[in-house]
Structure formats: C-alpha cells, structure tokens
C-alpha cells in the first residue's frame, strides 16, 4: 500500500472517532491559568453559524437512528460486560496512542510546557504503564490534556466556519474538520505497515474500540441532554461550539459572554428590583 492509500484508509477507518471525541469526551482536564488568552471566534448566543442547518438536521436524524439501532446498544453491552478497570485501560491505551498528535499540536501552539507533559506522559505510560494501559503519569502530577489541529487552528486565530453535522462523524465545523484530516497525517500510526494478516485490521479495530468506549462513557449524559432538550439538535450544536471554544482557550474564561439584560428596564439586575414571582 502506498503512503497515500494508507492515509486514505486511515481516514476512512478513523472517521467514526469524531462522533464521540468532541464535547462529551469528559476525560479532558481543565488547564491552570498558564493558558494564554487567545482571540478566537467566541460563541455568541444569537449567532448559530449554521447556514447548512437543513442538511445538517437531516444528517442528525439519520445519525440518531444509526445510534439507536447500532452504536448505543453496543455501547450499553460494552459498559455492562467490561469491568471498570478494563474500560479505564481501554481509555488510557487510546489516549496514549494519541500522544504523538497531541505532542505535535502542543508544539504548533507554542505550548512547550504542555508538550513536555505530553512527552513525559507518553514515556512513562508506555513503559511503566505497560504499553499505555495504565495512566501512571497522572500519579506523577502529569495530567492528561487533549489537543488537536482544530484547536491549533483556533489558537492561530482561525474562526470555526459553518457548523457541520456528518453521518457517523457527528458535530464538527469547517475548521475542525480540516484539523481532523491534518491530525490523521500527523499520526505516525497512519504510516505503519500492518502487514497482510490479521494485524491489517488493527487501525479499524482501534477506531471501533475508541468509538464504542467514548459512546459508553456518554450514555447517561446524552440521554439526559436529549430528555431535557426542547431541540436536541440545537443543544448538541450549542454544546459542541461552546466546548470547542473552551478547549481552544484551554479552560480559560470566555471574554465574550452575552449580556442577559436587554436594557429595557424589565430585567432585574439586583435582588431589590426583582418582580415578585407569579403565583
């Protein structure tokens, strides 16, 4: 297989990873105040940036069916059958495999300290952590953080572009989709020669396991969001966009939160002017 074909296969095989790897990958830890305050396109409450909403909603509905029929049931079984420590092992392993991509993006963002953490984590967890199954590095005060090229583009000042929702891939946008493709190129495993025997399916197995594990971790969260949402599609869109902006800021507070007061005197700005609640 040529390098191009390998990249194409990896891309095809890896496309499912996105559906779980975004807003609800709650393993992401908040970074301390060392994060720079960057100028990115902040999520405005009234600007939904969704010119392709019609098509996106169709994709969303189809994906919901796919999820209900296939992915969610598998994730439920996975969660029920695999012991917690085994599920943690899977997650640790996947995170560790992603280290080269995270490291590259740390450097591209000029975050040399975070790059050092990523490198140290990779070294420690791959060896003492038995190939990444155990997140030993966290015990050495080296917490996990996630980075991808979409976030890198964001820190470079690139706006998110129109919101997109793809079958299988889930929520994304023009910038993050571009970042996703670049990350597949940054991943050294894309270029590994898996041979012609069973190992040939290793990339697909990795993707499938990654997706199932992420889906299993988010079963309850997504169920709740769906149950409480007046518009589930809009919920996911809003949460995705806000979460991505937060990730680009590395958890630093948003500079641009909307004003809840309309200036027409009818919104309360202090407890004293609160209208008495209707009975």
């Amino acid at each position: 297989m040529s390098a191009t074909e390998k990249l194409r296969s990896a891309l095809l095989a890896s496309v499912m990873v996105f559906s779980g790897s975004t807003v609800l990958a709650s393993e992401e830890k908040a970074a301390p105040a060392a994060a720079p305050i960057v100028t990115t396109q902040e999520v405005q409450a009234t600007d939904m940036n969704d010119p392709l909403e019609g098509g996106n909603r169709v994709m969303f509905e189809v994906n919901q069916v796919l999820d209900q029929v296939l992915l969610r049931p598998v994730a439920v079984v996975y969660r029920g059958v695999l012991p917690d420590f085994a599920q943690d092992g899977v997650r640790n392993f996947m995170n560790n495999l992603n280290s080269p991509v995270i490291f590259a993006n740390d450097l591209l963002q000029g975050e040399t300290d975070r790059a050092g953490v990523t490198l140290a984590r990779f070294g420690i967890n791959s060896t003492i952590g038995l190939g990444g199954l155990f997140d030993v590095a966290s015990d050495f005060d080296l917490p996990y953080h996630d980075e991808d090229f979409g976030q890198t583009l964001g820190t470079w000042g690139l706006g998110e572009g129109p919101y997109l929702y793809f079958l299988v891939m889930g929520p994304t946008n023009v910038r993050d989709l571009t970042g996703f493709v670049v990350d597949r190129g940054l991943d050294p495993l894309t270029y590994a020669n898996w041979g012609d025997d069973e190992l040939e399916y290793a990339p697909i197995a990795r993707t499938a396991l990654n997706v199932i594990d992420l889906r299993a971790r988010n079963i309850d969260t997504l169920d709740e969001i769906e149950r409480s949402s007046v518009d589930y599609y809009a919920s996911i869109r809003s949460l995705y966009r806000q979460s991505r902006a937060d990730a680009i800021r590395n958890g630093a507070p948003s500079q641009d939160l909307p004003d809840f007061d309309f200036g027409d005197g009818s919104s309360s700005t202090s407890p004293n002017s609160q209208n008495p609640p209707a009975q």
């Binding site: 966290s138 007046v230 507070p253 939160l257 202090s270």
Partner: protein
C-alpha cells in the same frame, strides 16, 4: 525526559504564572464576597439534596432555587428577541413554566453529584455587579475535577445566580439556541414553547433516577 529538568522548568513557569495572575487579578478583583456567598449557597443546596429521607426535599429545593436564582432574568434571556415582541402575559406564564423546567433540570443534575461537593476556586469580575464564580467538583469517582461556573449578579452580600456552565458550556446559552430554533419553527409562539416546556418537565421528572 528527566523529571528533575521538567520540575525545574515547571517551577519557573509556575512562578511566572503566579506573578502574571497577581498582576491581572488585581486589575479584575472580583468578589471574595461573591465567592463566599456562592460557597454558602452550594453548601446549603447540597445539604437539601443530600437529605434523601426528607419528604419535603423537592419543595425545599424549589424554594431554595426561587430564592437564589434569578429565574426571570434567565428565562427572558432564553427567549431572545421574543421576550420583547411577545405578549407580556405570555412571557409571564413562560417564566413560570421555565422555573419548573429549570428546577427539574437542576435537581436531576445535582442528583448525580450526590455525595460530592463543589468547592469555590476563584471568581472573575465580568462587569460591575456581574461575576463568574468558578467551582470544581470534589470527591466522587476518579480524579477528574469537573469545572462548574456560576454567573451571578448583585453585590453587598446579596447575589443571585442566573446561569451555570459545565466544563465551559453555558446552560443558558444552549437553552436560548434551542428556544430560538423552536420559536422560529412555531411562528414565534411563546405559548407553544411554554406547552412544550411543561411536557418536557414531566419527562425529566419521570426519567430522573
């Protein structure tokens, strides 16, 4: 990859960060007052929710929310421009339905954190009288410290919160997007939204564990 070299670099960076934080914190001194108030609020709320044997728990929690949440402010915000164009009576009915909806959501969310606590870790002065108080979830399974922020308005020991974020995603903003979508598909009918909210509140309460 020597830990020594890494630790030395981290110390230098940490010192630089703290210096930077002190410099900027003095420019944005927010609310130690708001922070203390929020911690008391959290402790009080958690206390109510932890008392699972109390039959009047739901009522107490509702009263608690009503007292400390500026539900009207949040509700009007979620309506967006429709808050100004819709009939005031419809808006009032909506605010009431929204209160029930918000309480149901908060209760089921906070139920998940039963046994854990929230710890105030800082605050930001958004503008005069408007603060963001930052907390993290403590305890519970795993070492992940989930970030939960509260948006508060007020001063002099009297505050109300009007939005909440989890890991950087604000609930009020998300709700406004949803409601705007709904209203656009329903000819701007706030009563239709109110009816949907009421039905949804029942679903949330029925589905809560």
């Amino acid at each position: 990859m020597s830990n020594y070299i890494y630790t030395a670099r981290r110390s230098v960076l940490l010192a630089a960060v703290m210096l930077f934080s002190v410099v900027t914190a003095s420019a944005t001194v927010a609310g130690p007052d708001a922070e203390a108030f929020t911690q008391r609020l959290i402790d009080q709320g958690v206390q109510i929710l932890r008392n699972t044997s109390d039959a009047g728990r739901k009522v107490k929690f509702r009263e608690f929310i009503t007292q400390y949440a500026d539900v009207r402010k949040t509700a009007r915000f979620t309506l967006g421009n429709y808050a100004r164009t819709a009939a005031p009576a419809d808006v009032d009915i909506f605010v009431d339905a929204f209160k029930d909806y918000a309480v149901a959501i908060y209760e089921t969310q906070l139920d998940k954190y039963k046994g854990e606590s929230l710890k105030v870790v800082g605050s930001i002065d958004n503008k005069p009288g408007d603060y963001i108080v930052k907390t993290v979830v403590q305890g519970g399974s795993g070492s992940d410290a989930m970030r939960i922020d509260f948006r508060m308005s007020g001063g002099n020991g009297a505050y109300k919160f009007y939005d909440i974020s989890i890991e950087g995603a604000w609930l009020g903003i998300s709700q406004q997007e949803q409601f705007k979508s709904f209203l656009e598909q329903n000819r701007g009918s706030v009563p239709a939204l109110t009816a949907d909210l009421k039905a949804r509140t029942q679903r949330i309460l029925a589905g809560g564990k």
